[in-house]
C-alpha cells in the first residue's frame, strides 16, 4: 500500500508541476492524431479501399489483396467505416511515435551495455504491467479523450520494436562487424552501411509487433474516451448486445489481419 501512495504522490506532483509540458505534448499528439484522422475520414471510402487493396497486391500478393478488399467492404457495409478510420488513425499516430522513439532507443541499447541494462527491466515493466493501469496516469496527465489513449498506446506498444531492434543489431555476425572495422569504417558507417541493413528483417518484425500491440491497446483506450471501434465494443459490453459486440469485434480482427499482412510483407520481396 505504501508503494501505491508514493506513486500516487509522484503522479500528482508531476501533474501539478509539469502541466505545461503535458499540455505541450497533448497539443502535438492531438494535432498528429486528428490530422491523420481527418485525412482518412476526408478520403472517400472507395479510394481508401482501393489504396489498401493496391498496397496489399503490390507487396503481399493476390490472396492478401482479395482478403483486404473483402474485409474493408464488410466493414463499410456493417456500418463501422468512420470508427475504423478513427481507430486506424490512432494506431498509425501512436505507432509512428512509438517507432520514432523505439528504434533509436533500440540502437542505443545495442551499442551501449549500460543503457541495455537500464532499459531491459523498464521494457519488462512496460510490457507486463496490465494495460489498463496506464490508463489512470494517462487520464491524470491529459484528461479524457484521444490524447491519453495515444499516450497509453505508445507506452504499451513501444517495447517490441526496442527489443527487436537491439536483437537485430546484436545478431549481426561478429566477423562482419570486425571486417568492416578493419577496413576503416567509422561507428556511423558501421551502423548505417552494415548493422541496420543486416538487422532490417528483425527490425521490421519489431515494427509489425508494435503496430499489432498498438491496435490491441487502442480498443482498450476507448475506456478513457479514445474514439474508434473500441467505443462500439464497449457499448456492446455495457448494453449486453452480443451481436453488436461481435460485429465490431470482427471489424477489429479484420483490420488487425490486414495491417499485419501488409506490414509483414514490407521486409520481403514479393512472392
Amino acid at each position: 500500500m505504501i508503494l501505491g501512495e508514493y506513486i500516487e504522490d509522484g503522479i500528482n506532483w508531476l501533474t501539478k508541476n509539469f502541466s505545461g509540458v503535458f499540455d505541450g505534448i497533448s497539443s502535438v499528439v492531438g494535432t498528429l492524431v486528428s490530422g491523420i484522422e481527418a485525412f482518412w475520414l476526408w478520403t472517400p471510402f472507395y479510394i481508401v479501399i482501393a489504396l489498401f487493396t493496391a498496397l496489399a497486391f503490390w507487396k503481399a500478393g493476390k490472396s492478401t489483396a482479395l482478403f483486404t478488399l473483402l474485409g474493408l467492404v464488410y466493414i463499410y457495409f456493417a456500418g463501422f467505416w468512420d470508427e475504423t478510420m478513427q481507430t486506424l488513425a490512432l494506431v498509425l499516430a501512436s505507432a509512428i511515435m512509438a517507432l520514432a522513439m523505439g528504434i533509436p532507443l533500440g540502437i542505443w541499447s545495442a551499442k551501449n551495455k549500460t543503457v541495455h541494462k537500464i532499459i531491459r527491466p523498464i521494457l519488462d515493466f512496460m510490457q507486463t504491467m496490465p494495460a489498463f493501469v496506464y490508463l489512470i496516469p494517462a487520464v491524470l496527465f491529459f484528461g479524457l479523450g484521444t490524447v491519453p489513449g495515444a499516450f497509453a498506446t505508445i507506452i504499451f506498444a513501444m517495447p517490441p520494436v526496442v527489443r527487436l531492434t537491439t536483437l537485430g543489431i546484436l545478431q549481426v555476425p561478429e566477423d562482419i562487424v570486425e571486417a568492416t572495422t578493419a577496413f576503416g569504417a567509422t561507428p556511423k558507417q558501421l551502423l548505417f552501411k552494415v548493422q541496420i541493413p543486416l538487422a532490417m528483417p528483425t527490425i521490421l518484425a519489431g515494427i509489425n509487433q508494435t503496430i499489432m500491440m498498438a491496435l490491441s491497446m487502442v480498443v482498450i483506450a476507448s475506456m478513457i474516451g479514445a474514439k474508434g471501434l473500441g467505443v462500439i465494443v464497449l457499448q456492446g459490453i455495457s448494453q449486453l448486445k452480443i451481436g453488436l459486440g461481435f460485429e465490431s469485434g470482427l471489424a477489429v480482427v479484420l483490420l488487425a489481419i490486414i495491417l499485419d499482412r501488409i506490414t509483414q510483407s514490407l521486409g520481403k520481396k514479393k512472392g
Binding site: A179, F183, G184
Partner: protein, 409 residues
C-alpha cells in the same frame, strides 16, 4: 629489403588484473600459472618480429596460440597491452582514432577466415566497400573494383549477391576487397582454412602467382604447416602466445628449434621442402683431371671403397664420372691421364632442387648425384642412400640392411 612491420616486446593480456600479469610475464612465470593466479589470459607474450617489405610472412600455431590476436594488433582490432607495433616508421600503437582509420583504409587490408562479406550486397559493391568507406564516388570505386575482380578471376560475377556464391568464390571476393584499395600490407587470418582441400590448394597457388606481380607485404596466419611451408618466405611458429622459432621453411623443417616444432615437422612430407644442398656431402672424394693419373685414382677408389668418382678440373668444375673398370683398363694400357675414360652423360642437380624432384633420377643412375652451381662448380654429391633416408625417414644403417637382405634373397 627494408623492414615493413616491426613488433617490439608485444604482449596482449585479457582480464582485469593486467598490471600484475605484466609483472609476472617479466618474471618468466608460465601462462597457466598467471591464469590461475590473476585470472588473466596471456594471449600474446613478449613477441618481437620484423617483417620485410614484399615477403610472405607466415605465423603458424595451433588454435589458442595467439596468432590471430597477434595479427589483430597490427591493425589494432585488438589493442596491445604492452609493446609497440610499427608499420614503416609509423607507430600504430600510438595513433589516435583518425590516424588509425586512415591507415586501415589505405595501407592495411585484411582477409578473414569466414570472409566477413556483406551478404545483402553484390560482389561489386563488396569489393568496392573499402573504397566506399574512404568516400570515393561510385564510378571511380567501381572502376577499381572491376580491375581487382578480374585479377582474382571473378569476371562475370560482378552483379551476383555474395550469399549465392560458393566458399571458394566468396574468399576470392574477400581477397579482391582486400586488394581493391591497393594496400601495402595484406593481413590474412586463416584465409584459406574454411575452404575444402582442392580449392584451398588452388587459392594458395593463385595467391603466390598474384604475389609475383604485386610484391605486397603479406602476413599470413595458419594452423597448417604444409600451407605455411608452401606460402611462406619466412615462418614464425607460436605456442602459448610466444614465438618459439623463426626461419625459412627449410630451416624450420631441417632444424626444428624444439620438440614442439619437431612434432609438427614430423608429419610433413620432407621431400617437398628439403633441397639437395641440405643432404649433400660437400667433401666428396674426387678425381682431379690434371693431377690424378689412373694409378692415383685407383688408389683413392680402393681406399674409400667407391667404384665411381666424380672428375673435376683444378677449379672444381664438374666434368663427369669415372668408373673403376675403366681406370683399371687405362692403367693396363699404360696411359697416364684419365681424360678418355670420363663419362659425361650424367645428370646434375642445382643446390635448391627439391628432393622430390631428385627421386626420379634414382631410376637412371645407381651412383652419387652431383650438385653443381650455375658455373658447374661441384658443390657436393648426394648419395642414393641419403636420398632414400631423407624421404623415408629411415637411417642409413637400416637402409643398408634392407638392401643387404634384398641382395641375399
Amino acid at each position: 629489403m627494408s623492414n615493413k612491420i616491426t613488433i617490439e616486446n608485444l604482449s596482449i593480456i585479457f582480464g582485469k588484473n593486467k598490471s600484475k600479469a605484466i609483472k609476472m610475464i617479466k618474471d618468466g612465470i608460465s601462462k597457466d600459472e598467471i591464469l590461475s593466479k590473476t585470472e588473466c589470459n596471456v594471449a600474446v607474450r613478449n613477441v618481437n618480429l620484423t617483417i620485410q617489405q614484399g615477403e610472405i610472412y607466415v605465423v603458424m600455431g595451433l588454435s589458442g596460440s595467439g596468432k590471430s590476436t597477434l595479427l589483430r594488433s597490427i591493425n589494432r582490432l585488438i589493442d596491445p597491452t604492452v609493446g609497440k607495433v610499427f608499420v614503416d616508421d609509423l607507430e600504430i600503437t600510438k595513433m589516435n582514432d583518425k590516424e588509425l582509420l586512415n591507415i586501415r583504409r589505405k595501407e592495411l587490408s585484411m582477409v578473414f577466415q569466414h570472409f566477413g562479406l556483406l551478404p545483402h550486397r553484390s560482389v561489386m559493391s563488396n569489393v568496392a566497400f573499402g573504397l566506399e568507406l574512404q568516400g570515393q564516388g561510385k564510378v571511380q570505386r567501381n572502376k577499381h573494383a572491376i580491375e581487382t575482380i578480374d585479377m582474382v578471376g571473378l569476371k562475370g560475377y560482378e552483379d551476383q549477391k555474395v550469399g549465392e556464391l560458393s566458399g571458394g568464390m566468396q574468399q576470392r571476393v574477400g581477397l579482391a576487397r582486400g586488394l581493391a584499395n591497393n594496400p601495402e600490407v595484406l593481413l590474412m587470418d586463416e584465409a584459406f582454412s574454411a575452404l575444402d582441400p582442392l580449392i584451398r590448394a588452388q587459392m594458395q597457388d593463385e595467391l603466390l602467382l598474384l604475389q609475383e606481380k604485386m610484391k605486397k607485404t603479406i602476413v599470413f596466419i595458419t594452423h597448417d604447416l604444409e600451407e605455411a611451408i608452401k606460402l611462406g618466405d619466412r615462418i614464425a611458429i607460436m605456442k602459448d602466445g610466444e614465438v618459439v622459432q623463426i626461419g625459412t621453411p627449410e630451416e624450420i623443417v631441417t632444424n626444428p628449434a624444439n620438440d614442439y616444432v619437431e612434432s609438427f615437422v614430423e608429419k610433413v612430407d620432407r621431400s617437398r621442402i628439403s633441397t639437395a644442398s641440405s643432404i649433400m656431402f660437400s667433401k666428396p672424394k674426387m678425381a682431379r683431371l690434371s693431377k690424378d693419373g689412373p694409378s692415383l685414382v685407383l688408389k683413392t677408389m680402393r681406399e674409400s671403397g667407391l667404384k665411381v668418382l666424380p672428375v673435376v678440373r683444378t677449379n672444381r668444375t664438374f666434368l663427369g664420372f669415372i668408373h673403376i673398370e675403366d681406370v683399371v683398363k687405362l692403367k693396363n694400357e699404360g696411359l697416364n691421364t684419365i681424360e678418355s675414360a670420363i663419362k659425361e652423360s650424367v645428370m646434375c642437380v642445382a643446390p635448391d632442387t627439391l628432393i622430390q624432384d631428385m627421386l626420379p633420377l634414382l631410376s637412371k643412375t645407381n651412383h652419387d648425384i652431383p650438385v653443381v652451381d650455375e658455373s658447374n662448380f661441384l658443390l657436393g654429391v648426394v648419395s642414393p642412400t641419403s636420398l632414400i633416408a631423407e624421404t623415408t625417414g629411415k637411417n642409413k644403417v637400416e637402409i643398408n640392411s634392407i638392401i643387404q637382405k634384398a641382395i641375399d634373397l
